[in-house]
Amino acid sequence: MIVENLTVTAQEQLTSNVFKMKLTGDSVAEMTDPGQFVHMKVSNGIDPLLRRPISICDVDLNAKELTIIYRVEGKGTKILSERNDKETINVLGPLGNGFPTDHLHEGDVALLVGGGVGVPPLYYLAKKLVEKGVRLKVILGFRTANDVFLEEEFNEIADVTVTTEDGSKGIKGYVTDAIMQIEEVYQSYFTCGPTPMLRAVQQTAKSDGFVSLEERMGCGVGACLACVCDVAEEYIADGRKYRKACSDGPVFRAGEVLI
């Protein structure tokens, strides 16, 4: 966990409101776990005051280059989208626990399900799994064809199905509609996206899996208890009835926390 001023090396607009940014700096060398996130101070001063959590989408360890993909939601991400090449951004990270992959072995099949800006962290995960020889079924859900991003990149390394709510691209409907069409057996699934989607995926998927949560954060490091989630009865350990999304998560075993 390091705080460093990373230098912006690229900023690219992917859709009407989604941007891809690349940043470089020494701390990127620590960003080895897909599913972890960085906590970004998008501007100096107090406007806005707090950091913004953004998932690690890809890392080039040699070039010490981090890629993030983010959607402009409010003030913070708007400012982020206006930051230019060569400017620096204060970044705290990597934070949290990412997607575990030790349980998967060469030849296994893994299902990756992403929705909207839940897609980015799955890309770094996909690369790691492919390296391991794990075969992937990837389902990416968006609202419309215009909102789709990262499809090509995923296509290069995996079998990808896109769903759109209006059917303007791929399967019409939700990611769960695509999950139900999978006939192959998969050993594990990994999912990230809006909470209702996570709930639906948990119910639909036919294996154990891991979900990555979004919670409002204060500190991002486990100190303020802003981001707690209740734990399912059977996961209570040492009397701890909650988990902190920032430091225990953001990735949890499906079913561990109540969402």
């Binding site: 806005p48 005051l49 950091r51 490091v221 486990g222 100190a223 303020c224 209740d230 909650y242």
Partner: protein
């Protein structure tokens, strides 16, 4: 570093900066970033008799110049804290102040009594001002008589100094301060958060599940400075100042208002190294301004230290 040393009841601090309660857990998280021995002291999260699950999420919301929180005093309870959290801090050579909360007077008395016996507890901070707890709590913080009685009864059982943390959500904070001082408080912590709310215009509902939350951060600093300025002229016990500290100049401002030490809350979230950075910046800034000893400027805005200087030299 001796220009930074401050001595408060129970708190012998090599510098006047400690993290504020609730913003630093029980130290372990930030202990991963730096050696906590750099701090002047540490104030840990509110402790209650029993374990508390806290409020539903979302518990925080950002607002202009600050944030709202409604954590709801989540903590593992007195027993767990004394057996697992506080012992971890023993390896550090810094005073530990424990924030105590409750719902009825007996809660405060019980927790304070037991914490007094814990080896490394240097002082107790009575959180009579948490705006995020529905039952009780808030009354202690707005009625001088109730606050005084609570202080008196805790003082009867506590064997370490007792600080009372005042709520800014009152008409007359000087009356509150005087009441707890005459009830025996060893010091004051001020200010806790202002009660605030944010509404999501898309849903029409409050952003925070608890509806209201406590406003902290730079936005409340002018209120904190004003209150400390007023209270420090009316009481003799020392004040630990807090509310929006983000720079070394902010710390100097709190001292000049009348504080004798400071606590840093929200700034830790903005920068995990906030406290150690503030401590080193403070020294630099004091040298720039020619302040030889931080104690020299306590209350300078209303002439306290000027008086002391002119009478002693």
């Amino acid at each position: 570093m001796s220009q930074l040393r401050v001595e408060l009841p129970g708190l012998s601090m090599k510098n006047p900066v400690m993290p504020a309660s609730g913003c630093f857990g029980f130290g372990q998280e930030y202990g991963r970033f730096y050696d906590l021995n750099q701090l002047g002291g540490i104030t840990v999260k509110a402790v209650t008799t029993e374990e508390r699950p806290g409020n539903p999420t979302p518990r925080v919301a950002e607002v202009d110049g600050g944030m709202l929180n409604a954590i709801g005093l989540q903590n593992p309870g007195l027993e767990h804290v004394t057996q697992h959290e506080l012992p971890w801090l023993e390896k550090y050579d810094i005073p530990v102040m424990v924030n105590v909360a409750g719902f009825v007077m007996e809660d405060y008395i019980h927790v304070s009594k037991h914490l007094s016996k814990v080896k490394n507890v240097s002082a107790i901070e009575l959180n009579i001002s948490c705006p995020n707890v529905k039952v009780g709590g808030i009354q202690f913080g707005s009625d001088p008589e109730v606050a005084a009685e609570l202080t008196r009864r805790v003082k009867e059982v506590a064997t370490v100094p007792v600080y009372v943390k005042l709520s800014p959500n009152v008409t007359n904070i000087v009356d509150m301060a005087k009441a707890v001082e005459s009830a025996g408080a060893d010091g004051l912590s001020m200010i806790n958060t202002l009660v605030g709310m944010k509404i999501d215009v898309k849903t029409g509902k409050p952003v925070i599940a608890n509806k209201t939350g406590g406003l902290s951060g730079p936005a409340i600093k002018p209120v904190a400075i004003r209150m400390i300025h007023d209270v420090s002229q009316a009481v003799k016990i020392p004040i630990i100042g807090m509310g929006g500290i983000h720079t070394a100049d902010d710390i100097l401002e709190f001292f000049m208002a009348g504080a004798s030490a400071v606590a840093v809350g929200t700034a830790n979230f903005v920068d995990p190294f906030a406290c150690p950075n503030l401590i080193s910046d403070l020294e630099v800034r004091m040298n720039e301004l020619g302040i030889e000893d931080i104690n020299d400027i306590v209350g300078r805005s209303w002439g306290k230290c000027n008086d002391v200087l002119s009478s002693s030299r």
